[in-house]
Amino acid sequence: MTDDIDRNRLRRAFFEDYLPPSAGLAERTLRQVHDERRPDRQGPHWAFGLVAVVLAAVIVATLVVTRAETGHSPHHSPAAPPPGTCKAGAPPKLIVVDLAAQQLTAYQRGCQVLTTPVTTGGPATEESTPTGTFHVLHKYPTLMLHSPWPMGSPHWFPDIQVHNYLAIRDTGLALHSAEWEPADAFGPGSEEGPFAASDRAVHVPSQPLVNLYTWADVGTTVVVCGAGGPEPGCGGL
């Protein structure tokens, strides 16, 4: 190697834009490994293990049959699948908001753990919900919303308190409750109805939002994919 590309220059280039890990990564990682191996440390007992496996299989089969019989439920609580059991390479947690379907789906390691209708900002308007890949930046159990529009604007709204606020952009983009919106108003077409989000946010019905808020971590990826045609992030997921 000559002086043109030396070791130090390479190191600097490799670590451009480097973000150090979040605080406590090692401790968190090792604690999760501890949690995972705890059953082993209690002493392997193959008979109990076998019974547990059979019971789990029966429960899963019952759930599958029930789900097949009752059709697709509008939402359900996130049930954590064991690590590595869903799809290889899938992110540990991912939230996808499909603007065209007005639907939010949460995935854990590629397994769908929650789905719910939502209401976003109206398409092709100033308050439309932007597409893209975001991350949960902050979680607020309650938050007072102030209208970004001046009084007199058709989009203006009075200060209002919302719950389980998942901020995905510092500019106010978020998933949050909308207690004023009737439960049957969410879903396809709602973005063009009277309850469309005026703050470009994603309105999520209260009950699934409680589950989503508890399940999502700061850092969880949120993909918002667009209306008006299939886009990466929605079509194949």
């Binding site: 490799f14 834009d17 090792l30 999760q32 290889a88």
Partner: protein, 178 residues
């Protein structure tokens, strides 16, 4: 950590000693994160990869051979996790979304601010980037890298050589740019 202490710890981990596992792997988590971050350029993904690698290290510890370097062994698992992630459909979907974002006005500045060398590194193949990183940033011996990647030392040498050549071509160094 001396090799005899490492040897004792690996024996203890093999016997199921949780504390020994922590002692052995705690100093390796950050090295694993650095590698994952450099390969993925995404903090959340890098942390996820390190956590998954730690799970695998625990589950597969019986495959670790006494006398091997735990650091190199753990970095191998991390590198394999990164490779799987990059090949996966999920990663491509997410990154495509991000690239579309980068095409917007907000993202022009960060792209322009990156040095030419960094951009050239990003254009290298995964294998070439990995071998350069392990050799120049983690200071691993070529023999150790060869063991990690399951290839011959000659292959490691040629990958390093070719990677540097490609960087030089890309940067137009020594008049090689066409």
């Amino acid at each position: 950590m001396s090799s005899s202490v490492e040897g004792d710890l690996t024996d203890a981990v093999r016997a199921g000693d949780a504390v020994a596992f922590d002692l052995l792997f705690d100093p390796l988590i950050e090295a694993g994160y650095r590698l994952a971050y450099v390969m993925l350029r995404d903090r959340q993904a890098a942390e996820d990869v390190v956590q998954e690698a730690a799970f695998k290290a625990w589950r597969r510890f019986h495959q670790f051979q006494r006398g091997d370097s735990p650091r190199a062994w753990f970095l191998t698992i991390v590198a394999n996790e990164c490779r799987s992630l990059l090949r996966g459909r999920w990663w491509n979907v997410l990154r495509r979304e991000e690239l579309q974002e980068l095409a917007g006005p907000d993202a022009t500045e960060p792209l322009a601010a990156r040095t030419d060398l960094r951009q050239s590194l990003d254009r290298l193949s995964y294998e070439h980037r990995l071998v350069l990183y392990l050799y120049f940033c983690e200071d691993l011996e070529q023999t150790e890298i060869a063991r990690m990647l399951g290839v011959r030392v000659g292959t490691v040498k040629s990958r390093i050589h070719r990677a540097i050549q490609r960087l030089r071509q890309d940067l137009g160094v020594e008049g090689t740019r066409q």
